[in-house]
Amino acid sequence: MKKRIWKDLRKNWLLWVMFLPVFLYYIIFSYTPMYGILLAFKDYKTKKGIWGSGWVGLKHFERLFSAYNFELILGNTIGISLYSLCVSFPLAILFALMLNYLRLSKLKKTVQMVSYAPHFISNVVVCGMLSIFLDPNNGIVNGFLNSMGIASVAFLSQPGMFKTIYVLSGVWQGLGWSAIIYISALAGVDYQLHEAAIIDGATKLQRIQHVDIPAISPTITMLLILNLGSLMGVGFEKVYLLQNDLNFNASDIIATYTYRVGMVNQDYGYSTAVGLFNTVINLVLLITANTTARKVNGEGLW
């Protein structure tokens, strides 16, 4: 082995040199932090450093599992992502199918183009717009409700509304972008199948049901499994930005909790443990999802 490495070093030394910065980058910014996970089992003292701080075993994890809000943040994390998956996932497929059958090509192109745009708007702006539109005093949504004779609702202050706001704005942000993959899969469907179906007297709905959906079902299964694999990976930014004291019970998730105990309370060991808990569950889910994908589809992510 050693000999082969030396031989390759001589032959491909430029590739080794090229890759060196990337290697160092991953060692410093990915693998050193992995070493820092030790903190989850230690009582961190700044002076003593990561290695020198004393071991505390599973104390942090016991604290997490017995925390009064543990079930709440776990429930919120899974709740938000399941809700989001159940709404966004089918809508993206539906949107792609409908676009595919749209005959007015100008309208098709225009709708497609504007549907991608929100994907590139920052979460800060999206959440800022939400707070403007949903404002109980002069927001345009409440203005509309008032004109229909309905009293104003303080949407962002109601825990019960938080997840819906998060999910629906997420649909606005991601619908067009997540439909792209289905649109390209639909474009690859053999048109002869459609012609055969037309000759057999199939309506468009029947063609969708019997030609299109079977054709893109491998893509659908694959994406569904992958989405299930990232069930615990709710993004931090948007939840954090929409969070306030009033909707806190519905909006506190593992990621925001990790941030709060770590960066705000500076409780490094505990925060690392909470983060590790989330990462491990994520990894288990992803591996399970990947194994399932392999069984169902014949191939997975790796």
């Binding site: 490495i5 991953y26 183009m113 590139f120 404002d135």
Partner: protein, 304 residues
């Protein structure tokens, strides 16, 4: 592609088509109206927006909000910082991405699979917030502009897109020919591979640039100095701070209500103008680049 259906007999098909067109038109407005509303509100008198009179076009056209914004120094500091982070960060990103993607695309490179796995692992497992923060801090990067650039110097997802392109779209015979002509790996990369990879490089450059422009998280964790904050952090403050004193129902009623209202209205107006100004670069180039974004999503969707 869907060709024209010759038989137009089905009633259900007609209903389907009409419904489809209607839904698409509605969707068009759903996607565009929020931005359009922000745009017209930014040009309307604050009082008109406040009372809900702006719905379809600007009312009492005015540039007062923009004038106000011009005097808001922190916004421009943020703007300058973000431009710097975006330009420098994206250049570093693209450089690192090529350095990562090219060796990993060379089939005869001995440690290729080992390093590929090493990189892939980081996509699914990481140290998490605090361990990463401690590393960045121990390098002395916290509260410097470098914290906005270096910890995110490479996204392996984008490197994979580029690697797939190198492997699938550039004929291996070119490498043989270049070798015969005496070119080494770097010469081959610079003179043959990169010029042929312009489409995919354009795509990842745009991805990186957008993510820098929209970055809020890194600043939240690593930057405390106001003068170093990027645009998104300033925007966040514009949205958050003003709404507090305006929505307080039992607000101090004794103070001059008129003046308070005016202040609140201007603050509201500032939100609209700052959204527009923050998106100007994006809005200006979006129509020209959107086809590249789509292309990138397609390339990214192809597994390698």
């Amino acid at each position: 592609m869907v060709k024209k259906n010759k038989k137009k007999g089905f009633l259900s098909d007609k209903v389907f088509d009409i419904a489809n067109v209607c839904i698409m038109i509605i969707l068009f407005f759903v996607f565009t109206y929020p931005l359009y509303y922000v745009l017209i509100s930014s040009f309307s008198s604050p009082a008109a927006v406040w009372s809900g009179n702006v719905t379809l076009w600007p009312k009492d056209f005015t540039l007062i909000g923009y004038k106000e914004l011009l005097g808001f120094g922190r916004m421009w500091i943020g703007y300058r910082n973000t431009i710097f982070y975006t330009v420098a960060g994206t250049m570093l990103n693209v450089f690192m991405t090529v350095l990562c993607a090219y060796p990993l695309s060379q089939r005869d490179w001995l440690p290729r699979n080992f390093f590929l796995k090493m990189c892939l692992f980081t996509m699914y497992f990481n140290g998490g917030l605090i361990p990463t923060y401690l590393v960045v801090k121990s390098l002395g990067l916290t509260n410097t502009g470098l914290a906005m650039i270096i910890p995110g110097a490479l996204s392996f997802y984008n490197a994979l897109i580029v690697r797939n392109y190198f492997m699938n779209s550039i004929p291996a015979e070119l490498n043989e020919a270049a070798k015969l002509d005496g070119a080494n790996a770097v010469q081959y990369l610079v003179h043959v591979v990169l010029p042929l990879s312009k489409p995919v490089l354009a795509v990842v450059t745009l991805y990186y640039a957008v993510s820098h422009w929209n970055d809020y998280y890194n600043a939240l964790v690593y930057i405390f100095d106001r003068d170093l904050q990027p645009l998104q952090s300033v925007l966040r403050e514009v949205f958050a701070s003003v709404s507090v004193n305006t929505t307080d129902p039992q607000g101090t009623a004794e103070i001059n209500v008129e003046a308070l209202y005016q202040k609140a209205q201007l603050a509201q107006n500032l939100k609209f103008t700052s959204i527009i100004v923050s998106m100007v670069p994006m809005l200006a180039i979006y129509p020209f680049i959107q086809k590249y974004f789509v292309k990138g999503a397609m390339i990214g969707a192809v597994k390698g």
